[in-house]
Symmetry: C2
Subunit: 167 residues, 2 copies
Amino acid sequence: MSSRPASFDELDRKIVTALMENARTSFAEIGAEIGLSSTAVKRRVDRLRETDVITGFTATVRPSALGWRTEAYVEVYCEGAAPPRRLAEVVRGYPEITAAMTVTGGADALLHVRARDVEHFEEVLERIRAEPFIRKTISVMVLSHLIPESPEAGAALLAPDDAGDAG
Amino acid sequence: MSSRPASFDELDRKIVTALMENARTSFAEIGAEIGLSSTAVKRRVDRLRETDVITGFTATVRPSALGWRTEAYVEVYCEGAAPPRRLAEVVRGYPEITAAMTVTGGADALLHVRARDVEHFEEVLERIRAEPFIRKTISVMVLSHLIPESPEAGAALLAPDDAGDAG
DNA sequence: TATGAAAGGTTTACCTC
DNA sequence: GAGGTAAACCTTTCATA
């Protein structure tokens, strides 16, 4: 079983893996590794971008190196029915909220928050709690990471074919 | 207040921002935008990599395009004292676990899990629950994202100086 | 930090399969 | 549809100052 587009083959997989490991690898180098010309690699990358399999290329930074040392998840409980669109608007106003999603369970939403320190986090939390339709929040502070937050953290998504499948 | 290294200046900030927006931007192009030669940009990027401010360059993919359509957070409760090192070993055995951290609150750890579908997620969860020292898990399924999981999701970490500061 | 030249990468057009 | 080659153009790297 595979849910990838039919056109996603082994070569595409190798190209995406290479670009996840180092987004600045040249098409020529990738081509040399997989037996394709740089032109052919470029064409495939262009296609992968057009079909939104690859959504972009980014530099990964160590947040603590930039002074962001506090990280937490905040469960949000809303008054009455929480309209996701309204929540999305609110959430976009906070640069400290780096991810936000609606979830199953008691909470309506889960926010990932980064702050410079605990004082800063408290200030952000107070602002969030002051939003009109937010009834309650429960915060879970991140203490340490058991897996390095590496650039290739998602590379397992590209295991040869159906790795991770229940089999 | 800023916790960045003293040597991290406005030009570095602009360089990192440019590379987070597109990790394949040429040094010449970045230089033209900020008034530096491509050589100078390269030197700064090399230094930012050496000091681990930039930890890598990666292609961002849309997991659903690769057939990973189910996402959940799993709170893990351990028997007795949970040794983070032991937990870290276990967690590394699962390609489906894309992030894992120790946290405050009732749970000992929080796992971010990606699976192909709900069946696959259930299978992963069963394997996790069968690990010797895991007592209990609570799963929270992700329904929808309120913020796009964009390549530049972390760009707010680089706001001009102290954006997001309590002020 | 700037310059210039060599090496190498990217892009386009055209060709084959 | 797929990939290859060649040429023009651009980027990177390195030596030099």
